[in-house]
Amino acid sequence: MSSGIRDKVAILGMGCSRFGERWDMGAEELMVESFTEALTDAGIGREQIQAAWLGSCMDEVNIGKSALPASMALRLNNIPVTRVENYCATGTEAFRGAVYAVASGACDIALAIGVEKLKDTGYGGLPGLDVGSMPPLWWPNLSAPGVFAQVASAYMNRYKVPRDVLKRALAEISAKSHANGAKNPKAHLRNPVSCDTIMASPMIAEPLGLFDCCGVSDGSAAAIVTTPEIAKSLGKHPDQMVTVKALQLALSNGSEGGYNDWDGSYIHTTRVAAQRAYAEAGIKKPRDEVSMFEVHDCFSITELVTMEDLGLSEDGGAVKDVMDGFYNADGKIPCQIDGGLKCFGHPIGASGIRMVYEMYLQLLGRAGDRQLKDPRYGLTHNLGGFPHQNVVGISIVGRYQ
C-alpha cells in the first residue's frame, strides 16, 4: 500500500526566467537564468545536485531530444540527467521525476528544469503533430483553438447557457488574468485589457476570440527539491519550508475520443487527477481548504470548465462564480494570480514548473505586489493535449507541518 508523497519532499529553491519573446537568448541561456535563481534561493552549489530532469516539448531547434543540453548548459557534474516530454504537461513531468527521485531515497537533492524556445519554431501557435495513422483519420481538420472551442459549444448545450452569457464570462476570465499579469514583472503580457476589448477581438474559433487564447512564449523554470530533513540541515526553518502535498498524473485511455459516454463539456482526466490529489493531500473540501490555484488556461474556456472539474464550482456553476469575481485576485479563491498561461505565457516545457514557482512564492510571502494573504495550500493544474485525449498533471504544495 503506497503512502503517497505528502510531506516527503521539500522545495529547497526555485527560479523562473522572464517569459516572453526572448530573441536575446537561446534555450541554454534561458535555463541558466532560471537555474541560477534556483541555486541562489536553495543556497547550495551545483555540485550538490545529484540528479536532474529536463522538460522540453516542441522546441527541437536548439534543444534536441536528449538531456544533454541541460547537462552542458548548467555544467552539471556528470550526474544522471533525463529528458521528459508529455505534451503541455511536460513541466509537471520534470518536477515529478525529481520529486520521486528524492522521495525514493535514490538521491538527496534533485533538479527539475523546464524550458521552451517556442518562438524559434516560427509558428503562431503550437505546431501540429500529424504523423502516424490516427491524426489523418480522427483529426484531419484540427486546430488547437478549434478543439477547445468545441468544449464551449458542448458546455453551452449541456447547461443551456446563452452564447452571450458564456462569452462575457470568458472575457472576465481573460480580463482577470491580464489584471494579474500586469503586476508580474516576469510576465509576457503586462497590459490590463477590458472585457469590451476582449469581446471585440478577432474571432479565432467560435466562440473563442484572440484574447481567449494564451500567449506563445519563450521561458524556463526550475525547482530544486530535497527531503525536509536535509532542508533543515541546510538551514531552512520548518516555518519557511514548502513541501509537496500531492502529485498526480492522469492520462486519457482513448475512451473520451472515438467511442464513449463523454459529452465533450468537461475534461475527464482533470476530474480523476484532482480527486486523487485531494485524497493524497488529505483535503476534503477544496473550495474551503485550498487558497489559490494555477490552472492550465490555454484558452479561457479551459479555465472555466477546469473550475468545475477541480470541484471548486458546481457543475454548470462556473459562469456564476466567475461573474461574482470568486476567482479574482480579491476573490475567495484567486486563480492565475501570476497571470496564468494567458499572460505570464506558455513556454510548454516550463509551464508546469512556473505554476509551482508562483505557489511557492505566495506560500513564502515573496510574491510582491500580487501577494495573497496567508495562503495555506496552492494547487497547480497542467493539461497537455486535447479535450478528448490528454495528459493532466496536478500538484498541491503547502507549508511544511
Binding site: P127, L137, N141, I204, E206
Partner: protein, 138 residues
C-alpha cells in the same frame, strides 16, 4: 511536424491498416471497424480491437449517417491551405453506429450548425483526386 505553410490542403499518409478506410473513401463509402470479440464498432483504424485486443477487426461500410456532437466555426486557419475555406465548421460527428470522428460540415451556412443536427457523409476531393470523408446536413 506539419509545415505551417503547407499548401495545398494535406492528403493523408496511408499505411497498411488504414488502407481499407481510404480505399473505401475513394469508392464513396465511409468505412468503420467492428471488434470480433465484443461486436462493438470503433474508429479509427487499428489492427486490433481497443475493447478486448482481439485481432483483425472486421471492416464494414457505415451508414454514413450521424449527428453533430460538438462543433466550432473556425475563423483563423490552422494552416494557410485552409484559409480559403474560412469560416468553416470543425465538428465531432457521432455516427449512427456509435463511434465519433472529427470532420467538417460542408455545404451549409457555418452559423446554421447546431449540436444534435443530423448529417450525412460526403466526400471532398483534394490533390490528385484523393477523396476524404466529410459531412453535410442530412
Amino acid at each position: 511536424m506539419s509545415n505551417p505553410a503547407v499548401n495545398p490542403k494535406p492528403v493523408p499518409e496511408i499505411n497498411a491498416h488504414s488502407k481499407p478506410y481510404w480505399d473505401g473513401a475513394q469508392r464513396g463509402e465511409l468505412m468503420i471497424q467492428r471488434c470480433r470479440g465484443t461486436g462493438k464498432p470503433f474508429m479509427y483504424a487499428r489492427c486490433w480491437s481497443p475493447f478486448d485486443f482481439s485481432p483483425d477487426p472486421i471492416w464494414e461500410k457505415a451508414s454514413g449517417l450521424g449527428t453533430v456532437f460538438s462543433y466550432t466555426v473556425v475563423y483563423q486557419p490552422p494552416y494557410a491551405a485552409f484559409k480559403a475555406d474560412c469560416p468553416f465548421v470543425m465538428a465531432i460527428i457521432q455516427l449512427d453506429e456509435g463511434p465519433q470522428m472529427m470532420s467538417n460540415v460542408l455545404n451549409c451556412d457555418p452559423e446554421s450548425v447546431r449540436i444534435g443536427m443530423k448529417v450525412k457523409v460526403c466526400f471532398e476531393t483534394r490533390g490528385n483526386g484523393f477523396k476524404i470523408p466529410q459531412f453535410e446536413p442530412a
